[in-house]
């Protein structure tokens, strides 16, 4: 079972050109400076941007194929995504945020809430359900965002800079927390970060991008010993 990404994606003068494979159960960190194409890569997997050439295939199912013009909408890919700061819907409370994916599938509020209950208690959010997003700490918002992404039981979890914007004192705590959270999910996990410490602490494998090209692809331990 693999997630295969072999494509180019052009936006203006920038082109992302990758040929990468991911294994189920693996935590992969994608690193690189700003503008290296990290976020674009996640967008292509989630279906928020179509590829220019090549394809994206998950477990044999074609997500996007430029030659046949097959394109699966983001709504049908079952790929969860978590952005920096959580990006919770500000007009909804915590519970409404968490069950959004179920409500979008026309599941009644009461049933959705019951269905979400195990995840909510697993992530220790039971006491926060009535809160508004702006009343949450950075770490709490992050947990809510991950719960929201996991509620629809995605096969892939994409995390775009989930820990930036948090102050250094809470960062260590959140990182531990985060590792736990990621461990509870068995699918494909791809994390974009520009922080080496985060990557080393969480990932099994590290991929480094620069100017749209892969410049490093290897295990975390190899990366640690990589000459700089």
């Amino acid at each position: 079972m693999t997630l295969d990404t072999r494509f180019t994606l052009s936006r203006g003068t920038f082109t992302l050109d990758v040929n990468l494979s991911f294994n189920e159960g693996e935590v992969v960190a994608i690193m690189g400076p700003n503008g290296s194409g990290k976020s674009t890569f996640l967008h292509a997997i989630a279906g928020l941007l179509p590829v220019t050439s090549g394809m994206v295939v998950l477990n044999g199912e074609t997500f996007d194929d430029a030659t046949t013009e097959a394109f699966l909408e983001p709504t049908q890919r079952n790929v969860g995504i978590v952005f920096q700061g959580g990006l919770l819907f500000e007009t909804m409370n915590v519970l409404e945020n968490i069950v959004f994916g179920l409500r979008a599938r026309k599941i009644k509020q009461s049933i959705a809430a019951a269905q979400a209950e195990p995840l909510i208690s697993q992530f220790g959010l039971s006491g926060l359900l009535e809160r508004q997003p702006r009343e949450l700490s950075g770490g709490q918002a992050q947990r809510v965002a991950i719960t929201r992404a996991l509620i629809t039981q995605p096969k892939v979890l994409l995390l775009d800079e989930p820990m930036s914007g948090l102050d250094t004192s809470t960062r260590q705590l959140v990182r531990e927390d985060f590792r736990e959270v990621l461990a509870s999910f068995a699918g494909y996990r791809i994390l974009v970060t520009h922080d080496v410490e985060d990557a080393l602490a969480i990932a099994d494998r590290i991929i480094e991008l620069d100017h749209g090209k892969v410049v490093w692809n290897g295990s975390t331990s190899d990366y640690r010993n990589k000459p700089r």
Partner: protein
């Protein structure tokens, strides 16, 4: 000189002076109106049937216009803000054009398009027997023509400022475009949406030129408050004054009420 005195903020008097002239310019016409108002006849005039008719017609048509502007204007604003298509700049220019165009010209254009012999109106008449000029529908059309751009441009600006990643997340969670638009996009721009609606409504309420040209002027059917005010200028200047005051009072109180209700605590939208 080593003064450690805390400077009190000194306001530039030149700016204050010029700004005061601007304020006086806007305020004095209202005072002039109040000064000439025959207060003793106020209740007598506002309870007259033709005035009540005009008031009721204005309320009805401007509210219907607001609804129509919402139903058609919001999707258009979304399209302009989110989809990069050919002709987008043209449509935006078109919106601005109808905002700056003298409304009478809009009225003539509507007449030559939707009139009985107009480009589209001739078919409406011969195929469906629909005649628009001199009807209340024409009043609403004239109002929409001048008012909708206010809503579209306000909402479009708000949509542009909204982080598209909120919609991205919602899409990956399984929300269809329509569901995301309703549940995520619209609630996020609520303050601007209300600002746009209020602006469009206010513009519709004050509409004169396009209405009289396209819809005509018939008490009870097409004679809105501004038209009644204009008609009264000749026959009865006193009621024209009182009608003017009435319109100012309605517009002003609703703007104030809505500001407190919907736009109060937010920095978004228009600084009403």
């Amino acid at each position: 000189m080593s003064q450690v005195r805390r400077h009190r903020q000194k306001l530039p008097w030149q700016i204050i002076l010029i700004a005061s002239i601007a304020v006086a310019f806007f305020l004095s016409p209202f005072i002039g109106l109040l000064w000439r108002t025959p207060w003793s006849k106020f209740t007598d005039i506002v309870t007259r049937r033709e005035i009540r008719d005009a008031l009721w017609l204005s309320v009805q048509t401007s509210l219907i216009t607001s609804i129509v502007c919402f139903v058609f204007g919001v999707p258009l604003a979304w399209l302009l803000a989110r989809v990069d298509f050919r002709g987008r700049r043209f449509i935006r220019a078109l919106m601005t054009l109808s905002m700056v165009l003298p409304p009478v010209i809009g009225g003539i254009a509507l007449l030559f398009t939707f009139g009985r012999r107009g480009l589209i109106g001739q078919y409406l008449d011969s195929w469906f027997g629909i005649r628009l000029p001199f009807t209340t529908t024409a009043v609403v059309m004239a109002q929409c023509f001048v008012a909708m751009p206010f809503l579209v441009l306000t909402v479009e600006a708000a949509l542009r400022q909204l982080d598209t990643r909120f919609e991205d997340v919602a899409r990956t969670l399984g929300g269809s475009r329509w569901y995301v638009f309703r549940r995520v996009t619209l609630p996020s721009i609520k303050p601007s949406l209300f600002a746009g609606l209020v602006l469009a409504w206010a513009r519709a309420l004050g509409e004169f030129g396009a209405t009289i040209t396209f819809a005509g002027n018939l008490p009870g059917t097409t004679q809105t408050m501004p038209l009644a005010t204009y008609a009264a200028l000749d026959s009865n200047p006193e009621s024209a004054l009182i009608l003017s005051l009435l319109m100012i009072a309605i517009a002003f109180s609703i703007l104030i009420a809505l500001r407190d209700r919907w736009l109060g605590r937010t920095e978004q939208g228009l600084p009403l």
